[in-house]
Amino acid sequence: MSSETGKILTTDGIPLEESLKQAEKKNKIKAFLLVAPLLLFLIITYMIPIGDMFSRSIDDKMVTNMLPKTYKAMETWDGKELPPEEVFEAFYLDYKILVKNKTAGKLQTQLNYEKNGFKSVLKKLARKQKKFEEGNYKEQIMKVHKRWRNVEYWRAIKRRAPSYTYSKYLKGVDMYSNEDGKIVQVSEDRRIHRILWIRTVEVAFFVTLFCFLMAYPIAHLLATLPMKYSNLLMICVLLPFWTSLLVRTASWMILLQQQGIVNDFFVWTGLVADDNRPEMMYNKTGTYVAMTQILLPFMVLPLYSVMKTISPSLMRAGKSLGATPAVAFFKVYFPLTIPGIGAGCLLVFILAIGYYITPALVGGASGTLISNQIAYHMKSTLDWSFASAMGLMLLTGVLVIYWIYNKLVGVDNIKLG
């Protein structure tokens, strides 16, 4: 059964190479089919919606849809002098429909963002337009309010035309593009978002630092103690880990309140006077303390799993070669724990930067973070496109951190307990 090319054949006459390839392909498809349900599910319900957030965040069709005729008529207008009669007529017709449908309010708000004082002008027009006669709308509209003679207001409408915008992203860092199309900062007293971003990074950084400082000694103790003691102490780490986040936040709310146990203790030791109990909740202190305790297990577990693998004989070898315990620790032990430190810090930092529940409950006004702002816009102001924009800015930040971490340490080193 030898073929002309001299290839090795399987029993059914197909060259071995091809047969192997087919089997490999079959295995590939098999493996892929196993992953496919979850992959499809996540792509449809999760990845695409995140992409959808992006299109929402730049979507600005609201005004375009409200004034279709106006924008069509404005296409030929150069914006230097007052627009021609057709634009006035188109605007009158569009606005009439909006007033009839009771949606004119939205347009007034949106155009007021573009040009201050637009709202009152539009409101007046809404009242007067009922008595308008047919023809020569330019004259009639300009008679309603003298500002309609000002070309600035018409430019503002035209500026609002593009159906895509990055203004939400600018708003997220307290900037906006002004009447001349230049990007400028909002006035000092309205810069709230930048403070929130800085505070979020600051809280995440310090919570990570505190967690690291507290977790390192106890992870070391857990890894070096004999099994029967360390298993018992491990419960102190694992029980909070498995306990509901809200339960732990509730217990901090009880502990930190003004008549709470921590304050009682301070009064008892004489650190503070009974009538001068410090406010420890509803500010940054509360956020720091509660978040550190809640995220601490996420730092301990990766550190522990790395420290567990470090042989104690390494430290002994260092000492026997003449190093003092401190030198042996910093030259031998500490470098070996870096993968654990990296994993723990990454985990805690990423969790902290997106924290919502605890800051909302114990943070008060000065302890809320960027996530609270996102939730606020999702639930209260219903400015979903702004919430999406801020969410994506946060996500980009997290992905950058993740990418840097992957370059420095490697994601494969992450372990779950």
């Binding site: 490999e24 098999k30 892929f32 089919l33 196993l34 992953v35 349900p37 979850l38 992959l39 996540l42 792509i43 449809i44 999760y46 990845m47 919606p49 995140i50 959808d52 957030m53 929402r56 977790a215 000694p217 106890i218 103790l221 070096t224 103690l225 102190c236 780490v237 694992l238 029980l239 909070p240 498995w242 306990t243 509901s244 986040l245 809200l246 339960v247 936040t249 509730a250 217990s251 009880i254 502990l255 709470g260 146990i261 305790q293 601490l296 930067i353 997106g354 919502y356 529940i357 409950l361 996530s371 996102i374 939730a375 999702m378 979903w384 969410g391 946060l394 996500l395 997290v398 779950l416």
Partner: protein
């Protein structure tokens, strides 16, 4: 960790100082949980230890908040508990099925684009919850599943599968594939092989992943806050509202029950971990 006799005094002091620090950190970790216990038996309405409680006067303790939790007027906890359990159980089942299948595929050496696919599968764990919440809400609102149990269950499957994928892939990394080949060569069907050989061996991983998924779903607030309507309130939602509006001791009674539940989960997880360590010890 007893110190050897020859230890110099200043190292000895340093060592005790280190133990003291560790003690403080352990106290910081665990003590807050124990505040809830006694206060949930408070006879009064305040969330502070009354003078009677400090004297251990039996009259200062009562079960009234537990009664309020179960029989209270307009009691929201019964419905919330039922919803929570239904949602968590179905979300766990969904996560286990989808996650285990995916993990089986991922640990095959024939799997193409492994890194990329793994990144997608565990992304719900990396992306901050608030962003997942917004994205999932947009999807559920679009397909009309907002404020339904199904919507919340699907959302929790999204959040829970990464844990199952990670734990099961970890279990499978020590898995000897020649066993399944042996089974097939002896005439077992793929389904039979999976049920009789593979599943029993990876079961500890599957269950501990399932536990993670269960706890994630049972404790999840952020996504449910966006999705839930009045009929889908869960225990966390109810606690969230309670903590925001007024801290009543009833919440502490619920919290105590939740702590007991987490003790049970912890015990199960520990038993599983030891069992799987034993099994791995044998196979080595």
């Amino acid at each position: 960790m007893a110190l050897p006799k020859y230890t110099e005094p200043h190292y000895r002091i340093w060592h005790y100082f280190y133990l003291l620090i560790c003690g403080c950190v352990f106290f910081f970790l665990i003590a807050p949980l124990f505040v809830i216990f006694p206060l949930s038996f408070n006879a009064e309405e305040f969330l502070v230890f009354s003078d009677g409680m400090k004297r251990l006067d039996p009259d200062a303790f009562s079960l009234r908040w537990y009664k309020d939790m179960i029989y209270g007027t307009k009691n929201p906890w019964g419905l919330a508990a039922r919803n929570s359990f239904i949602i968590a159980i179905f979300a766990t089942l969904g996560s286990i099925i989808l996650g285990t299948l995916a993990a089986l595929g991922l640990s095959s050496r024939h799997m193409p684009y492994k890194g990329l696919i793994m990144a997608i599968l565990i992304s719900p764990m990396i992306v901050p919850l608030i962003i997942s919440g917004v994205a999932i809400f947009f999807f559920m609102a679009k397909v009309g599943l907002a404020a339904t149990h199904l919507g919340i269950i699907l959302a929790h499957i999204i959040l829970g599968t990464p844990f199952v994928v990670i734990t099961v892939t970890a279990t499978l990394s020590g898995f000897d594939h020649s066993i399944t080949r042996a089974a097939s060569s002896l005439g077992s069907s793929p389904y039979n092989t999976f049920m009789k050989i593979t599943l029993p061996l990876i079961l500890p991983g599957v269950i501990s992943g399932g536990l993670f998924a269960f706890v994630t779903s049972f404790d999840e607030v952020v996504v449910v806050l966006f999705l839930a309507g009045l009929d889908n309130t869960t225990i966390p939602i109810q606690m969230w509202t309670g903590l925001r509006e007024q801290l009543s001791p009833t919440i502490l009674a619920v919290a105590t029950c939740l702590i007991i539940l987490s003790v049970l989960i912890l015990l199960t997880a520990e038993l599983l971990r030891r069992r799987s360590e034993r099994l791995r010890g044998i196979s080595r």
